[in-house]
């Protein structure tokens, strides 16, 4: 039964990756090669919208790696997403060149407007794509590494850690709002023209960005699955369930957490970098703690500790948001809050986790009835039901999200 379930999880990962890769090919085709009058035509705004959702899904998957598998409830993951986005935004700003409103070949418009005389040192290099791409990985990764190094070494856990991650993103929000930070202040970075020499607004470029997001998400799914399945992944869950036990076995729990946190931040940064050219703007609002909390909701709705769950959650909640804010804009936040409460109360394992429970129970019942028909020992099957309904490997232990005390 256990091996069956492992195959089940593998199959689910494989299906997700295939669906994403198929979408990366089919959606651009239906947008570019099909006539706009055809029923199969996908209009550009849908491509951009779903592309944006895929970036959110990548962010939710990144959060799931630390929250679902290691119990670190980060309420500041939006910060890593936004930093990746800013790194990409800086590249896009420098691609504008002399086509800006003020026509300055070096300085972006907002710098001319704010009377900058020369380019600040931290904008050097961002005219090269490779450098910007490196920064997309390095800046969120480094911040997560330094932050995590201090937090995990001081054994800050649980709600205290959540609060300081929130403080981190709030501090960055305030910093990026300042005009003299050199990141465009309140307005952020926008009015992009080109990416790698292609017009950002063009249909073909948007389709390509969509495809890039889908492929990146597929790769992130494979990477997360590989991490979670490794011995390190088992250790990660062990730290989540009984941290002091891992310490007394000789593992350095802080390093275990630090690695996952850093990898997760880099994934979030990549998500942000793909997001910015698709939405055409990045501003300090992305650092808003409320954004990071929304990511937690997507992950909870889809099912933390499942790889596919956060992706499902991000796509569904955002699709719901797009629809809801169109119909009843003033009630969206109430709906979101209600959704979180409802999921916590009725679907504690999220959609995917719940599906697993139902599926497991149905399978066990079927096995039980088959066994009964075959006239097998009636004592055996009921025991099986209890077991399979109890837990899936790697799932959260029944004692809840709180780590078990050692003593």
């Amino acid at each position: 039964m256990i091996t069956q379930r492992f195959f089940g999880a593998d199959r689910r990962i494989a299906i997700t990756v295939l669906v994403l890769l198929a979408a990366a090919v089919i959606v651009p085709l239906l947008n570019l090669a099909v006539s706009p009058t055809s029923a199969f035509y996908i209009p550009p705004y849908i491509v951009a919208l779903v592309g944006k959702y895929l970036c959110y899904a990548l962010l939710a998957l990144a959060l799931d790696l630390v929250w679902g598998y290691c119990g670190i409830l980060s309420l500041g993951h939006g910060a890593f997403f936004a930093l990746g986005g800013y790194a990409m935004g800086m590249y896009l700003m420098r691609q504008i060149g002399s086509r800006g409103v003020y026509g300055n070949p070096i300085l972006p418009d907002f710098m001319v407007f704010l009377n900058y005389k020369e380019l600040p040192w931290f904008w050097y290099g961002f005219d090269h794509f490779w450098f910007a791409a490196l920064m997309v990985l390095a800046v969120p990764g480094l911040l997560a590494f330094v932050f995590g190094w201090f937090a995990f070494r001081s054994r800050v856990t649980g709600v205290y850690l959540s609060i300081i991650t929130q403080a981190m993103t709030y501090a960055l929000l305030l910093a990026f709002f300042r005009n003299d930070m050199g990141f465009g202040g309140n307005n952020g970075l926008t009015d992009f023209k080109d990416i790698l020499g292609f017009n950002v607004q063009a249909n073909a470029t948007r389709s390509a960005l969509f495809a890039a997001s889908a492929v990146t998400l597929a790769l992130a799914v494979l990477l997360t699955a590989a991490i979670v399945r490794s011995k390190y992944g088992k250790l990660l869950m062990a730290v989540r369930d009984a941290e002091s036990r891992t310490r007394f076995l000789g593992w350095l729990a802080e390093n275990v957490k630090l690695f996952a946190f850093t990898v997760s931040a880099i994934m979030a940064g990549i998500g942000g970098a793909l997001y910015v050219p698709q939405v055409g703007i990045i501003n300090p609002g992305e650092f808003d703690p409320a954004n990071s909390i929304e990511v937690v909701i997507w992950t909870a709705v889809g099912g933390r500790g499942t790889i596919v769950g956060p992706i499902v959650g991000a796509l569904l909640v955002n699709a719901g948001k797009s629809w809801f804010t169109g119909v009843l804009p003033e009630f969206w936040l109430f709906a979101l809050g209600g959704l979180f409460v409802a999921v916590t109360l009725f679907l504690p394992k999220g959609i995917v986790g719940m599906w697993d429970s139902w599926h497991g129970r149905a399978k066990a019942l079927r096995a039980a009835s088959l066994a009964a028909e075959a006239g097998a020992d009636p004592e055996e099957p009921p025991a099986k039901i209890v077991r399979s309904a109890a837990r899936t490997p790697g799932a959260w232990s029944a004692s809840g999200p709180e780590p078990q005390p050692a003593e």
Partner: protein, 248 residues
């Protein structure tokens, strides 16, 4: 007292929490290969003593030496675990969302850094070792079972198995038979006696029947220091011990 040939050496150790002296000038010596039972009423400082030895609590004063020369007060839990001290908690603490086999795999002696764990493939030697331990702890038929589905007694055994997988020199075992049936208790006594053949062991236990079964030297703690030491018969005949256990 000479430290050579001792596996654990505590001298004049004291620690207080908010003015309460949990350990008070405690001295205790364990020879290499010895098994010792520690008894004492609630609050005698048994668990605090284990916290000090395993690096969870730093003593205010006193010496704590492992293997004759290593000063344990200078190291943290993970370092001490790597030196060869394994600890079983009072409440069985296993990784409930992992299978019995994976629990042992995470405990097996080996490199303890991230990248080897990330690219780890189980070798035949490791599988062999896991099989051996499963046999010792009598869980051979449960290897694929999630630890959460084990009975209380089986979890205690699994935790002892995880200690064995670490291949420690010294095992600290806190109340191994709490909540066990009589049959399980006897089985556990046999298990610990097996283990004591090639390890040094400290067992903290309240169950006198179990301590008698172990048949080893007994140390009785009271208010953070040693009250009496010797065979179980000697200790239980000691008037002060009787007084502490039964009240004045």
């Amino acid at each position: 007292m000479s430290k050579s040939n001792t596996i654990l050496y505590l001298d004049g150790v004291s620690v207080s929490f908010d003015g309460f002296r949990a350990i008070n000038n405690l001295s205790l010596v364990l020879d290499k290969g010895e098994m010792r039972a520690i008894i004492g009423p609630n609050g005698a400082g048994k668990t605090t003593m284990m916290d000090i030895v395993t690096g969870k609590t730093r003593p205010d004063e006193g010496e704590v030496f492992f293997d004759g020369q290593v000063d344990l007060t200078r190291h943290d839990e993970a370092e001490i675990a790597m030196m060869g001290i394994g600890r079983k908690f009072q409440k069985p603490t296993v990784f409930e969302s992992h299978s019995v086999e994976d629990n042992l795999m995470l405990a097996l002696k080996g490199p303890r850094s991230i990248f080897p764990a990330l690219f780890h493939h189980r070798s035949t030697a490791e599988t062999q070792r896991i099989d051996d331990i499963l046999g010792i702890i009598r869980l051979g038929d449960k290897r694929g079972e999630l630890a959460a589905n084990l009975s209380h007694g089986q979890k205690q055994w699994l935790e002892i198995g995880m200690l064995l997988a670490q291949d420690p020199k010294l095992l600290l075992v806190d109340e191994p038979v709490a909540g066990m049936t009589d049959a399980e208790t006897e089985e556990t006594a046999r298990l610990l006696k097996d283990i004591a053949r090639d390890h040094s062991v400290i067992v903290v236990e309240h169950d006198m029947h179990f301590v008698r079964e172990l048949g080893v030297k007994v140390t009785c703690l009271h208010e953070g220091s040693v009250l009496s030491e010797g065979t179980l018969d000697f200790v239980s005949a000691d008037e002060r011990v009787v007084e502490v256990y039964l009240g004045r």
